[in-house]
């Protein structure tokens, strides 16, 4: 072979061997993720190098943690991860769809068809489906106040595929309310404004939405109050600790008297800043029983803490940067960077600030805020893997709600879309295509059915029966999905099973692209020293 002449160490796979390797890898990956799909998917346990446990049903997490090495599998996995980045859901479906496209193509290629022709068919089919999806989608009106019901349905559909049912249903409300809380009309939704905080405590069903903020640290002074009501909140980014000067400075003194003065002078600057805050506190809090809370992004050293504590101020230091932004959104006021021009207008307000101690960890809750634009989802669970699982699910749930609001559309779920699209290809599109590209369209149509098939398989149902039943109903003009419990066709509209429009669109868009690329590979070359392992 020509390459061997150029580099005797290189490994080459060509023609059908290369193709089969890629197809096998795609099918292998599909096999791994297959059992994940849908509410009845099973859980995988990932054990890390250090013996840490992770439980997941989420395709994205699985692909990230699995450390895949096969080049084809990596390509598919990357597409799936891109899917997750773009829309937050549908990773498993993407992998399944690509795998199935490859599998269907294999049949035709083994019969002697050229991959190029299939790829042409894929392209036609893809364009047709993208047109079809526009007609098929269900429009959602998002006005000033979006319809919470439909958002809940979408969120529920997503969450139920990640967690068990009762927990998913509980999280649904939390997720929808969180997104509606941070949503501002005419502005893109910034999901970073939803803080996700976790506490290892109690049970997974104790997860709740906090309208306000939860910070994972507490005040560092024993005399500060643990619970204060009616609080003015000063959000600031001012260093309240002595900082060494940049230049290499030193003091010279010749008696203790002088040194004492030096010590005092050194502190004066910091003390002045603290005093300004205390002045403000006295201004707003005199004559009423309001309290004052300082949340500082920079440090507060013990002497300053001491001064603040004596003035009855609760102070938190070293808050996270992102939390400063959220605090302002949640409590109102503004984040100040200097204490020179403090006015009561800079202050936010919270009805209740309290500290919760769990073993060594301290948490500060800022609650009962007025008109919040930021909130916290407080995840609880008895152990780390439960928390991680919920966290992944919440993230996906938030994304699905956001997608719905931005898309202003949803797609009927439970496999209904896939069956309808497949039928559309076979009945309408295929006939308009000339020549062998028809087979590509056929393969595409068959591949789409992988979603309902896998759903049925995971529920322990007979796949063929289910597909026949579903296509039969579609032929009659009813749009139906699969009932996971019984295997009968159901109307997803009635059951409230909706998927994201953008997720489906992304799958249809990216799946065929990657499958085409893989099909058109006819040589795999491995060369170069670091690629090779000592055998």
């Amino acid at each position: 072979m020509s390459l061997r002449v150029l580099n005797p160490n290189a490994e080459v796979l060509n023609k059908s061997a290369a193709l089969h390797m890629t197809i096998n890898a795609a099918k292998g990956l599909q096999d791994v993720l297959k059992t994940n799909l849908g509410p009845k998917g099973t859980i995988k346990m990932l054990v890390g190098g250090a013996g840490d446990i992770k439980l997941t049903k989420d395709g994205n997490t699985l692909l990230k943690e699995m450390q895949i090495q096969n080049p084809t599998a990596i390509m598919i996995a990357r597409t799936a991860v891109a899917q997750d980045d773009a829309s937050g859901d549908g990773t498993t479906s993407t992998v399944l769809f690509i795998g199935e496209l490859m599998k269907q193509s294999e049949r035709y290629i083994d019969e002697g068809m050229h991959p190029r022709v299939l790829v042409d068919g894929f392209d036609i089919a893809k364009r047709a489906i993208l047109e079809f999806i526009e007609k098929f989608k269900t429009h959602v009106t998002v006005g000033e106040t979006p319809d919470a019901e439909i958002l809940k349905m979408v969120a529920r559909t997503t969450l139920r595929t990640k967690l068990y049912e009762s927990l998913a249903d509980q999280l649904t409300d939390i997720v929808v309310n969180a997104v509606l809380c941070v949503r501002k009309p005419d502005e893109p939704i910034d999901l970073f404004m939803v803080e996700i905080m976790h506490m290892r405590h109690k049970f997974d069903v104790d997860t709740r939405l906090v309208e306000g903020l939860v910070l994972d640290h507490g005040s560092r002074h024993p005399d500060m109050k643990r619970r204060v009501e009616n609080c003015h909140i000063l959000t600031c980014n001012v260093s309240l600790e002595y900082e060494k000067s940049e230049v290499n400075a030193g003091f010279f003194y010749s008696n203790a008297e002088q040194r004492e003065k030096m010590v005092a002078a050194e502190r004066r600057q910091v003390d002045d800043r603290v005093r300004k805050i205390i002045e403000l506190k006295n201004k707003v809090c005199s004559g009423n029983d309001n309290n004052f809370v300082v949340i500082n992004q920079k440090g507060i050293d013990p002497p300053s803490l001491d001064l603040l504590a004596r003035a009855g101020i609760v102070a938190l230091r070293r808050a996270k940067r992102r939390n400063m932004e959220r605090l302002v959104l949640a409590c109102g006021g503004e984040a100040v960077n200097s204490v020179d021009d403090l006015t009561p207008d800079c202050l936010g307000w919270a009805g209740l600030v309290y500290e919760h101690v769990l073993g060594e960890e301290k948490y500060t809750f800022v609650e009962n805020v007025k008109n919040p634009h930021s909130c916290t989802i407080l995840i609880k669970g008895p152990n780390d893997h439960t928390i991680a699982q919920i966290k992944d699910a919440v993230r996906d749930g938030l994304r699905s709600v956001k997608n719905t609001i931005e898309d202003e559309a949803v797609i009927l779920g439970a496999g209904a879309f896939e069956v309808a699209a497949s039928q559309h290809l076979v009945n309408n599109v295929k006939k308009t295509v000339q020549g062998r590209a028809q087979l590509g369209v056929q393969a595409f149509a068959d591949a789409l059915l992988v979603v309902p098939k896998t759903l049925a398989e995971n529920s322990g149902l007979d796949t063929q029966d289910v597909i026949i039943a579903l296509t039969g109903e579609h032929d009659k003009g009813f749009i139906v999905g699969l009932n996971q419990h019984t295997g009968d066709p159901i109307d997803p509209l009635m059951e409230g099973i909706f998927d994201n429009y953008s997720v489906k669109r992304q799958i249809i868009n990216s799946g065929p692209v990657i499958a085409s690329q893989l099909l058109l590979v006819d040589e795999v070359i491995r060369a170069g020293r670091n690629m090779r392992k000592p055998s």
């Binding site: 490994e11 796979l13 061997a17 890898a25 099918k27 292998g28 990956l29 096999d31 791994v32 059992t35 009845k40 099973t42 859980i43 995988k44 346990m45 990932l46 054990v47 890390g48 190098g49 250090a50 013996g51 446990i53 439980l55 699995m66 450390q67 895949i68 090495q69 096969n70 599998a73 290892r200 405590h201 109690k202 049970f203 997974d204 024993p222 002595y242 060494k244 400075a249 030193g250 003091f251 010279f252 003194y253 010749s254 008696n255 203790a256 008297e257 040194r259 004492e260 030096m262 010590v263 050194e266 013990p302 001491d306 073993g359 008895p382 152990n383 893997h385 322990g460 491995r526 392992k533």
Partner: protein, 544 residues
């Protein structure tokens, strides 16, 4: 190895060293097996007659204990599924501080029964459904079993506290609960704040002093510091106390300072001004009325000298937390710098004295009217491991007190509750249709593990005991449990053995959660274990 011969399937796609297990036989049953093994280890330690385990951890430290939390902690369980059970036990330990053994053993029993169901042909998802129904129903029944009128209790009433604490302590130190319980109860009641829900476990300290015996154990209203006083003054009565967090020494600047000396005269003067400054400070402290100085940092030689001169006792507490506790005990406010304290910043103690106990010098700070501050249980014992074990018993007792402060409801102990739950749940399972009824029935059966193990550990005939328990319960005597000393079934309300409702509630729930989690897993992907020195297989994982 060329990639021509790449095998098909997932194995080829993972990095070398990965293990992939899937399916019923490989994943589910193996997981169950691992959890079973684990629960067999802890099970023999359940209850008052439980056996002790000798665990030697990787640091060659020896533990002799029957506290499940300690055992599983030191075992360093590697198997992922068994680890889930361990985590459930730990969660229980963190939440309540007691009942970890019940959690792990019960989870193991649930999984063992699940295995039988799987062999019968049930799918894990059906078992999970059954178990979830089972635990929901169990909690319902448990609610009904709560002893009437126990939801309100006076947490300051020693007898009530002792009766609730007894079973928890007895399971760790059987036969000694009558000595320990009143001590723990006293210590807890003393520091219980006005609002009992704010009870802080941290306020009950344990001081372990080698020597003496259990009968020498006592409680001290105040603290026991395990070090000597710094100066020569070793005793102070009715003393006001000044606390300095930053150390008792000359003050220093943050920026590096240099003493500028031009001639010999200045050198002499410098030392003098320094001295004068320190004296001034110490004098100021002494003038404020303080008789004891407590330092959180270093105590300078010169400062110490002046303290001696002004007859001030000096203590050094280097731990920040210990210092904070000390402040709580005495009511002092910790000052950052050495300066004159205000009268309201001074603390007070009835007596501060250095005593020699068992060859160790300890400083005892007593405060009779301290109110809800800190109390210390002084434990005496002949060996370190006995002391450690006593400490764990005390910890369990204190945690139980905390739990009862939040929720004082109680259920009959000594397996009476478990049998009743088993009986009622079984009845419930008969009413269910569908495959999950088998799972619910097995869930009910799992409760028998508790009386069985209790009886077995006490050397009694388990089958006989269980059948007579069932007979009694069927006759309506729902509070009948096992009297382990006499080996017969008795009404627990007359024996006064109660378990806290919350302990049971969390233990059962965590156990059911863990069991369901293990059952839900059908694939395990294990990464290559990270590098690091290889350890021997921890002792105890072998078949015993």
């Amino acid at each position: 190895m060329g990639f021509q011969m790449q095998p098909y399937g997932i194995q080829s796609m993972l990095k070398e060293g990965h293990k992939h297990l899937s399916g019923l036989d490989e994943a589910v049953l193996k997981n169950i097996d691992a959890c079973k093994q684990l629960s067999q280890i802890t099970r023999t330690s359940l209850g008052p007659n439980g056996m002790n385990k000798m665990v030697i951890n990787h640091l060659d430290k020896l533990f002799v204990t029957n506290d499940a939390a300690t055992i599983v902690n030191e075992l360093e369980v590697q198997h992922p599924a068994a680890k889930i059970c361990v985590l459930a036990g730990k969660a229980q330990q963190e939440e309540i501080g007691d009942g970890a053994n019940l959690t792990i053993s019960f989870a193991g029993e649930l999984l063992q029964n699940a295995e039988e169901l799987i062999r019968m042909g049930l799918h894990p998802s059906e078992i999970i459904r059954g178990y979830s129904k089972g635990i929901t129903k169990t909690i319902e029944i448990l609610d009904e079993l709560v002893e009437q009128g126990s939801d309100t209790m006076d947490v300051r009433n020693k007898n009530e506290v002792v009766s609730r604490m007894k079973s928890a302590v007895a399971s760790k130190q059987f036969g000694q609960e009558d000595i320990l319980c009143p001590l723990i109860a006293d210590a807890c009641i003393q520091v219980c704040p006005k609002n009992p829900t704010n009870f802080n476990v941290d306020n009950v300290r344990v001081a372990k002093l080698l020597g003496g015996g259990l009968h020498n154990c006592s409680i001290i209203r105040g603290m026991v510091l395990k070090n000597d006083a710094v100066g020569s003054i070793k005793k102070m009565e009715k003393a006001k106390i000044a606390v300095f967090a930053g150390g008792v020494d000359t003050s220093a600047t943050e920026t590096k300072g240099t003493v500028l000396i031009h001639n010999a005269e200045q050198l002499e003067n410098y030392a003098k001004t320094e001295e004068a400054k320190v004296e001034e400070l110490i004098k100021a402290v002494a003038d404020s009325g303080a008789k004891v100085i407590v330092s959180g940092g270093a105590v300078g030689e010169m400062a110490l000298h002046f303290c001696e001169r002004y007859k001030l006792m000096v203590l050094k507490i280097s731990s920040k937390f210990e210092l904070r506790r000390f402040c709580r005990t005495t009511g002092a406010v910790a000052l950052l710098k050495l300066s004159q304290p205000n009268p309201d910043e001074l603390g007070y103690a009835d007596s501060v004295s250095v005593q020699e106990v068992g060859g160790v010098r300890v400083t005892i700070v007593k405060n009779e009217e301290g109110g809800n501050s800190v109390s210390t249980v002084v434990l005496r014992g002949s060996t370190d491991s006995i002391l450690d074990d006593l400490e764990r018993a005390v910890d369990d007792g204190v945690n139980t007190y905390k739990a009862m402060c939040r929720d004082s409801r109680i259920v009959p102990g000594a397996a009476a509750t478990e049998i009743e739950l088993a009986r009622r749940l079984k009845e419930f399972s008969f009413k269910e249709t569908g495959l999950d009824q088998y799972a619910i029935a097995k869930f009910a059966e799992s409760f028998e593990m508790v009386p069985k193990t209790l009886a077995e550990n006490a050397g009694l005939n388990a089958i006989e005991i269980i059948s007579s328990l069932y007979a009694e319960h069927a006759a309506g005597n729902t509070k009948v449990g096992i009297d382990l000393e006499e080996g017969i079934c008795k009404d627990m309300s007359t024996m006064n053995i109660w378990d806290l409702y919350v302990t049971k509630y969390f233990a059962l729930k965590y156990a059911a959660d863990a069991a369901c989690t293990v059952l839900r897993v059908d694939q395990i992907i294990m990464a290559k274990p990270a590098g690091g020195p290889k350890r021997d297989q921890p002792a105890g994982m072998d078949e015993d």
